[in-house]
Symmetry: C2
Subunit: 565 residues, 2 copies
């Protein structure tokens, strides 16, 4: 058998992984990576942390766990892979099976023949038609070059204020990074909420946390453009005309798959704009594979196409491609549950699977648990808070989605959920799941299991709930509602909603039923700190003949609006 | 319908949960808890942390998340449950459906009638026939009383040295607690390893960590008895006659289900000694349920009876019982995967499912991944180490077990594994799983997914491994083996095994093949820090015609024996 020629276009996550895996599967193959930029194998998800000063060594973004920079020499020596950097692939000739390359430093062009070609060109920023985009101090935060540029700017110590445009994952991470560098940060989001992976109420709670950390956050706020002074950005003009002063602006308005080459070569792209691949990550040309942010992915819960530009998926897809270019159809990538996680100061926000908005859009009849708030472990171990919601198929009870935020161990909770969703577990399965418990790590009943218990109660009709938003709307509409806070007077003194609620501690309720409305059909909304006592309160009221009793989801901890105290 | 009478014997985890859930399901039922000791709802897994000074408020072990002690008044006021403390249930009359109780303070006896009875008497220590057991300063660490006793003793500041007998979960947690209080600790374990839930090599690595924290650990070491002085313990006499000086000894030699009452009442117990229950947690008498440490559980992977005295299972079973005593057969408890986790100083040790020892004992043909060691997240985020092993069914690839130790995020990894096992996922499923990734939380390819990749390679025959133990045996037998360390000279200088290995950095290997044995059938064992480079080294050697090449599992990080440096 002749030596197989494999060319990989793009040497970041997916491409570098595909090349390395191909080498492990075939020690003889001739493997070449063509990389447009100078660096290889960049840990691009680490850019915000480098910018924020979590670490100061740029090479840490480029090196192996033992500190060796993955440059062209490394790829040659350790992996026997030719990595050609600063070189752009300008065309693919599928008939002759060659790619044309342009050395960006010398300007020379050359062709590379391939038996199997791998496309891993990643994604590019979605550019907004905004005035002042070219001013000094305005950048994205997508490439090593962007990061170097912003790092230099921050290190010059001339940046006192920054504006971040876009409240997605990168925008939110960038906020934390800049605050850590002592910069006053304003976040602008055009949509009504940040972090579109989350429900509105969860996103609002994250915004509250960001505000507590000193970030100014505007949602439903369009950017008109940047205002310059001597060629450098001096402000961001909002839709309402206000100008926010800034010496730096980071535009994080989303990305789109980088597919010009593929389109020019006549490969099929999909409705998301990404390159269409089959389960083997093969494009419409069976000798051409694609992986990473340039492909269209499949959501395995909806069976619909989606764009899922995540670093973990890029690596997993790259591994599959690396196997298949050596042994055809030997590995499959089944798709994604669109799991994501993001650190936001002391909070973490994570999600796996669908929100009910997404499930409904896909025609799935689903039910939401109410919002569940609880400590992540016993208070005596220094607990953090977890606030979560579960989505399940109404008919089968199968868990379809989970979102969780808080300063507790969100990472474990979302990883648990991701596996439960992947394993097609239903609410009953999770209700009795056997998760690792010891006081340093969780409550005796893990928060995710409690979420299933809440869902179980709701599916059985034992738990009639109302969201904080609905409560707020009732207050604004001046509806006649009896709000019952079931906590203790001490708790009430230090923190309370101030929405006209009546305090009746749960322990006193049975002897104070005379404080309740005489009309048994009066609307009563119960809550407490996290709404467990609110739930027990509601059960007692129902037992005493009240017919319109609801529990406010997640209690005071999930209330995203202003409070009296 | 008349008011249902529910009597619960035992008010710790399972009993208190069953009573509380029963109340939520039925506001009218008459619910009584009979509790032998003064306290209720004790967070018993927290005892070692109270002892170690993680917190100083005893009530924290007994209170709700908002700080209210769950005493009899709390149960009455908040839950409308009668909790009778300091009262022992001495007999069950199944014909008249009454239990006889003895008030331990007054000595009065009284009967309680029941419609449904719940047995949650927990477990009791397995007492060893050891001399000096009654000396002052010798205690178990199972009850609140034990904890109070030990806390007083430590607070008296007369304890300089302590001996802990038994290296199970509680023994190991007790070591950390006492070291935190400035006590010199010796751990004695009669078996060849501590933490029987783990494989021997993992347990040995945990012992190394404990030794680094100043604990003296003896395995395969029997205790002859305690030596006294003026009625107080002064030493522990080992099997070899040595006396270890100590002023305190904690005996943690396991527990057994507390079943005298059940046996006397003629209820069926099983081979583990626990009360036999069906999937509804009903005993052989359908009006009597049982939950918690007194029951015999089912391992859902082997379908065999097991004893699983874990706080989380007690709570989950209690919840199931609470539902079923109100609405018969409305909830099921399917069994356990015997998931467990334990903090050992800066390490965590966790397991879910079977070890291969257990799988083989159950007649399952299984395969082990090699040991996988990796950082839990990128080095630039301050990574911890994870060392793990996966067990799968050889025919189906279904994951049956996972164990993980290290100073990294073991909790997330074992929770992930527990759900994968519960969801009956196989190695290929996990190979492409979509877990939450961002640099603060994991590597781009999560450690658990990498474990699946290692298993995948092994199932495909691409990965021929040898354990550290086998390597040590080869060295002791003076077998002729070429040991190849594939790391860099810098790494070699600061840490090396010193087993006669030859250093050939992976990057230099292709140009230094002349350093290898001329005989292509020579046995070559490759390794590096974690054995990823060891794996790549082996692939290159195989390509160059070497036929007997192996990789040492987990590399230097999983080597539990003495090293040269």
């Amino acid at each position: 058998m002749s030596v197989k020629k494999i060319v990989v276009i793009g040497g970041s996550a997916a491409g570098a992984k595909a090349a390395a895996k191909a080498r492990r599967c075939d020690q003889k193959a001739q493997i070449t990576i063509v990389q447009k930029v100078p660096d290889l194998s960049m840990a691009s998800c680490g850019y915000p942390y480098y910018l924020g000063g979590t670490f100061n060594n740029r090479n840490a973004l480029l090196c192996t766990p033992t500190g060796v920079v993955r440059d062209a020499a490394f790829f040659k020596k350790v992996k026997d892979i030719d990595a050609i950097v600063n070189t752009e692939c300008v065309a693919i000739d599928r008939t002759s099976k060659t790619v044309s390359c342009l050395d960006r430093s010398s300007g020379t062009q050359f062709d590379l023949p391939y038996d199997k070609l791998v496309l891993s060109m990643g994604a590019k920023p979605r550019k907004l038609p905004i005035e002042g985009y070219d001013l000094k101090g305005v950048s994205q935060l997508l490439s090593m070059q962007d990061t170097d540029y912003l790092q230099d700017l921050i290190s010059s110590e001339t940046i006192k204020e920054a504006v971040i445009v876009g409240g997605g994952l990168i925008g939110v991470e960038a906020c934390e990074a800049l605050v850590a560098r002592g910069i006053k940060v304003t976040l602008l989001e055009a949509a009504p909420q940040i972090l579109p992976m989350l429900d509105e109420q969860f996103a609002a709670l994250v915004v509250n946390h960001m505000k507590a950390k000193g970030v100014q956050v505007f949602t439903s706020m369009k950017l008109q453009g940047f205002v310059g002074k001597a060629g450098a950005v001096a402000g961001a003009r909002l839709g309402d005309g206000t100008v926010i002063s800034c010496q730096m602006a980071i535009v994080c308005c989303g990305i789109q798959p980088n597919t010009e080459l593929a389109v020019a070569a006549g490969l099929t792209t999909g409705i998301t704009g990404g390159i269409v691949v089959n389960e083997f990550m093969q494009t419409s040309d069976p000798d051409i594979y694609a992986a990473g942010d340039c492909v269209e992915c499949k959501n395995i819960l909806t069976n619909r196409a989606c764009f899922a530009p995540m670093g973990d998926l890029a690596n997993l897809q790259g591994r599959v491609v690396g196997q298949n270019v050596i042994t055809e159809q030997s590995a499959q990538f089944p798709g994604t549950t669109q799991t994501a996680i993001c650190k936001v100061f002391d909070f973490t926000a994570g999600v796996s699977g669908l929100t009910s908005r997404q499930a409904e859009a896909a025609g799935i009849d689903c039910i939401e648990s109410s919002i569940n708030a609880s400590p992540d472990k016993p208070g005596f171990m220094g607990a953090g808070l977890l606030i979560s919601k579960m989505i399940a198929d109404r008919k089968t009870g199968r868990i379809l989605g989970y979102q969780c935020i808080g300063n507790g161990d969100v990472s474990r909770s979302v990883a648990t959920a991701a596996m439960a969703i992947k394993g097609k577990l239903d609410v009953i399965d999770v209700s009795c799941a056997d998760l690792p418990y010891a006081p340093p790590y969780s409550l005796a009943i893990d928060h995710f299991i409690t979420a299933a218990h809440v869902m179980d109660n709701k599916l059985k009709g034992n738990y009639n709930t109302v969201s904080a938003k609905e409560v707020k709307e009732k207050i604004e509409a001046k509806e006649k509602v009896f709000f019952l806070d079931g906590r203790s007077p001490d708790e009430y003194e230090v923190m309370r909603l101030g929405i006209g609620e009546v305090l009746i501690p749960l322990g006193a309720l049975r002897s104070k039923l005379d404080m309740l409305p005489a009309d048994k059909s009066a609307e009563i909304i119960c809550f407490c700190k996290i709404s467990l006592r609110g739930y027990e309160t509601a059960l007692i009221l129902r037992e005493h003949g009240y017919t319109n009793v609801k529990v406010m989801e997640g209690g005071i901890m999930a209330w995203p609006y202003a409070r009296a105290v």
